[in-house]
């Protein structure tokens, strides 16, 4: 099968890959670009383990062709921490026992990352609804909700500091 060159920004860096038109973005991210943080859990867009941030939206990379990423801005879990510092969401998941086996975690974090930009001050019900495209078999979600609440508070605080500075 003939291959197509695709280029996009991954975690702020330009990347290129030679892909089949039918190749899924998750496979290219994991196998060609060696970003194995995003996972495959269902192949039907239900579990969200493959969630990445794609042009400012949460997207399930198991049901997107890699060629659709041409020119896109893609962020994966590997791009969350910056300058050796964990993102407040990562810190919150660790502080609140928001993960167990860790398989859903990268997708949860990436969804939380976008969700808190969509809704910086969510209620518990809004968090549950906003995260409902991501499944977790281990935690029962309670500590994930707590983690998102902590991250919302932390991000709000740093936002407040930035504004007052």
């Amino acid at each position: 099968m003939s291959k197509i060159q695709v280029s996009f920004n991954l975690n702020g860096e330009p990347v290129e890959a030679l892909v089949e038109p039918r190749e899924l973005l998750i496979h290219v991210l994991r196998e060609q670009l060696n970003r194995t943080g995003s996972h495959i859990g269902c192949e039907t867009s239900h579990c969200g383990a493959c969630t990445v941030d794609f042009n400012g939206e949460s997207v399930k990379s198991c049901t997107l062709f890699a060629v659709q990423a041409q020119g896109a801005e893609v962020v994966t879990v590997e791009g969350l921490a910056s300058n050796g510092e964990l993102h407040p969401l990562q810190q919150a998941f660790m502080d609140n026992h928001g993960l167990q086996c860790g398989y859903c975690t990268p997708g949860m974090l990436m969804r939380g990352y976008r969700f808190l930009q969509e809704n910086p001050n969510p209620s518990e019900a809004e968090i549950r609804a906003g995260m409902s495209g991501n499944l977790c078999r281990c935690t029962g979600y309670q500590n994930i909700v707590k983690s998102i609440q902590q991250a919302a508070a932390a991000l709000g605080e740093s936002d407040g500091e930035a504004k007052s500075a």
Binding site: E20, R22, E23, H27, R30, E31, R35, T36, G37, S38, H39, I40, G41, C42, E43, T44, H46, C47, A49, T76, V77, E78, L80, A81, L86, Q90, F93, M94, D95, H97, L99, Q100, C101, G102, Y103, C104, T105, P106, L109, E124, I127, R128, A129, M131, S132, G133, N134, L135, C136, R137, C138, T139, G140, Y141, Q142, N143, I144, V145
Partner: protein, 799 residues
């Protein structure tokens, strides 16, 4: 002597038992640096894809590989005929049966493994699998286990014709696997004949699937030059797998290494050895290259390790006051096409005889008949010990049925039947010795916390208004920690577990275990045990599991056995080290061993805290300054064979409101009190309880692996198979009491499975309680809105 502030500070610094230490696993997972099976990439690695049967029962007339082999990139297509010369077309199962690795002349369940295509790329392997042409001749299908033993039933396992036993006693029919009994049938019948009250109910534990978020997978890597086989795989029991592989392949066990790395959830699904693993390994041996096989979600739900499918008839005999005099449970167990039920050799129905639960029932008899059907093989323990959910579901449902019959409050009937705190150790009528418990205290605490009386009052008012509100109770006792080797083995290997600790000269240590974490946080909690036992800060304790070349042999992590069995091995190994440390300290301080006492992280001369040697100092001395005749080093290994199982228990209350028009259930409140004995890390225990309750919610309210009459699976992707999201999942309230296990070195009992085992009947009891005033005594799971709506319709609630 009261602990000084300095003592407390030293103790806190260790982060030992009882501390809610943050998890050491988390930094890699939150940064996308875990190593799960599909993350393994080896030089020269190729990919395998399985060709599966579209039919549930069919004869294979021919397999044509030609078109697949012509596809560029396809390296080989393996069928049963290719495996035959190696003797690998069948494999032994954990249930004492055999299972086809690749279908041998016929298929016996839908999506059974028929051929394996190996190609240079994942996509090409999948293309190749599409090109393999298989001609089938369809055969009549058995889906309903009640029809398996019909006179004219088609024979599912022709390979067993003429064999009157498949590992567990006499078979009564070609589709019969075994009959297993416990208790005294005659005396039970006699009690039933004379009883004031008898209740009887058909109760199903439907076929469900554990469905961990990561599917199963494997990379087989055979080094032809060294004759060494390395297998990376999703296994909850890597050491047992290594032994099975040695038995199967003839490769010396010393040349097989099984590595598990990180596992994306197991819940029992990753205990058995599946055909996919075996063909990937065989393909690697044949090709001399690493071969990767990763299961799809549909294949996972359809073919690997389902759970339950226990069709039970529960009966209780009681006096007029609701005191249970006898229990009789009969079960028809659907094991699918091969008996790959996970069980210890002597327990073909697992630990089902724990079904007397928390109650003092003087006489009991249980019988399980297992049969073949044209469905996927399995019978794994989905977040429970072997067949414990099935057992507890039956008793916790039946006691409600009895309460309803006698019009006794459902909390009160439990109280009347509890094994009392002063009766422990308590021998059950089915042969178990419950080591410890205090059921009444737990129930009282929960009833008070939820204002049970107030809830019942509210329910009465609501019923008067035609509203449906249910209050479910569950006061369960679990049996975990398999198990005493005199009673428990798999393939002849005792179910002990192990720990190997080595203390370094500078006082840190590395410890390795025979278990395998899948999210339970062993790296964190195991270190806490060592910190408390050895006075080494848990930050300086390195925990490793899941590499058979490094870790001592153990039976793995399932059946909540990590803390009850391996946790004990850790404590015992640490105590061996402490014994040696005491001798070294006595030598260094020039006193007798008897003059020393242990204090947090050091041995000190009794009453003279100034004269002490810390563990750090002792560690260095172990490599330099030893008493005469003592060996160097500071290490120990312990293989722990538990004297008994442990028996965690709990009291749960669930409150539901059901919409009479739609049948939708809203979980208003769920309060769970667990007693798992000594608590090592509250944060992790609570997380385990939240997760277990959510899996219980899934089973009770929505999960079902269902089939049509042709044996076609209806709903095998996450489009249909219910995994609760954060929206359906309620807020959990947790609580605890502490009744330490008297025989466990730490008093710990295990917790991860209790919320699943105790939670499922609690949900059912709540839903059925909401309908009980309408004369409903039981409805089977799952309690979907549609199923409840149908029931309400039947009852005429809408009119």
């Amino acid at each position: 002597m009261a602990a000084t502030a300095e003592d407390i500070e030293r103790k806190d610094k260790l982060e030992g038992i009882g501390c809610s230490r943050k998890r050491k696993e988390d930094p890699r997972f939150i940064q996308g640096q875990g190593t799960y099976i599909d993350d393994i990439k080896l030089p020269g690695m190729v990919y395998g894809a399985l060709v599966r049967s579209p039919f549930a029962h069919a004869r294979i007339k021919s397999i044509n590989k030609e078109k697949a082999m012509e596809l560029p990139g396809v390296l080989a297509v393996l069928t049963a005929d290719d495996l035959k010369p190696l003797g690998l077309h069948w494999m032994p199962t954990l249930g004492g049966d055999v299972q086809a690795v690749l279908a041998d002349e016929k298929v016996a369940f839908q999506l059974q493994e028929v051929a394996f295509v190996i190609a240079t790329e994942r996509y090409i392997a999948a293309d190749g699998a599409e090109l393999v042409e298989v001609e089938y001749e369809e055969l009549p299908v058995i889906v309903d286990p009640h029809k398996s033993m019909d006179k004219d039933a088609p024979v599912i396992r022709e390979d067993l014709v003429g064999k009157d036993e498949v590992g567990h006693g006499k078979r009564l029919h070609d589709n019969h696997i075994f009959t297993w009994e416990a208790g005294d049938e005659d005396s039970t019948d006699a009690v039933f004949d004379k009883a004031d009250v008898v209740v009887r109910e058909n109760i199903l534990n439907p076929r469900v699937h554990p469905c961990p978020l990561e599917t199963c997978g494997c990379v087989g890597s055979f080094d032809k030059v060294k004759g060494q086989l390395t297998v990376y795989m999703t296994s909850q029991a890597p050491h047992l797998v290594r032994t099975v592989l040695a038995m199967l392949s003839g490769i010396p066990e010393s040349k097989i290494r099984v590595v598990t790395n990180d596992i994306g959830g197991g819940f029992g699904n990753k205990v058995p050895v599946y055909p996919g693993y075996v063909v990937a390994i065989v393909a690697s041996i044949v090709l001399g290259r690493p071969v990767k096989w990763i299961e799809s979600r549909i294949d996972n739900i359809s073919t690997t390790g389902f759970a339950r499918d226990y069709h039970g008839i529960g009966e209780l005999a009681a006096d007029k006051k609701g005191r249970i005099q006898a229990l009789r449970f009969n079960v028809l167990a659907d094991h699918g096409a091969f008996n790959s039920h996970v069980s210890a050799s002597k327990w073909p129905a697992g630990l089902f005889s724990i079904c007397t639960g928390s109650y003092d029932i003087p006489t009991a008899y249980v019988k399980v008949d297992a049969v073949y059907t044209n469905k996927a093989p399995g019978g794994v323990a989905y977040r429970c010990s072997l067949r414990v959910t099935e057992a507890i579901y039956l008793i916790e449902r039946m006691i409600d049925v009895l309460a309803q019959k006698l019009d006794i409050d459902k909390a009160e009937i439990r109280r009347r039947n509890f094994v009392k705190a002063d009766q422990f150790p308590y021998n059950t009528s089915l042969g178990w010795t419950l080591d410890s418990g205090d059921y009444e205290t737990a129930l009282d605490k929960v009833l008070k916390a939820v204002d049970y009386e107030g809830l019942r009052k509210e329910q009465a008012e609501k019923r008067a208004r035609g509203e449906l509100m249910g209050i479910g109770l569950s006061t369960f006792t679990e049996i975990v920690g398999a198990g005493p080797t005199k009673a428990c083995d798999i393939l002849g290997i005792g179910l002990f577990d192990s720990c190997d600790i080595r203390v370094n000269p500078t006082g840190s240590c590395i410890a390795r275990m025979g278990t395998q974490t899948q999210g339970q946080g062993h790296q964190t909690t195991y270190a806490q045990i060592i910190a408390t036992e050895l006075g080494i800060p848990s930050e300086e304790v390195q925990i490793e599991e899941g590499d058979t070349d490094k870790a001592p042999y153990g039976a793995g992590t399932w059946g909540s056995r990590s803390t009850p069995v391996c946790g004990a091995a850790i404590a015992k190994a640490a105590r061996k080290i402490r014994d040696k440390a005491r001798k070294i300290a006595a030598h260094l301080l020039e006193v007798s061993e008897d003059d020393l006492e242990w204090d947090v992280d050091r041995f000190q001369v009794k009453g003279v805290p100034d004269q002490a040697k810390t563990m750090k100092e002792i560690a260095m001395a172990a490599y330099s300054d030893l008493p005469e005749g003592m060996e160097h080093g500071l290490e120990a290994v312990d293989y722990y064979d538990p004297p008994n199982f442990t028996f965690p228990f709990g009291a749960y209350v669930c409150v539901v409101d059901i919409d009479p028009a739609t049948g939708e259930t809203k979980i208003r409140r769920f309060y769970a009190l667990d007693d798992c004995g000594t608590r090592i890390n509250d944060m992790i225990i609570e997380g385990q309880v939240h997760g277990g309750l959510t899996e219980a919610l899934a089973v009770a309210m929505g999960q079902l692996v269902g089939f049509d009459e042709g044996g076609n699976l209806q709903g095998n992707s996450l489009m249909d198979y219910f995994l609760p999201t954060a929206v359906e999942t309620p807020h959990w309230e947790t609580d605890y009491t502490v009744t330490p296990s008297p025989h466990h070195p730490l008093g710990a009992k295990g917790v991860a499975e209790s919320p699943h085992v105790g939670g499922i009947p609690c949900f059912s009891n709540a839903v059925i309680d909401a309908l009980s005033h309408l004369g409903v005594t039981h409805v089977d799971m799952p309690h979907t809105a549609h199923n409840i709506w149908k029931k309400l319709h039947e009852l005429g609630v809408h009119e």
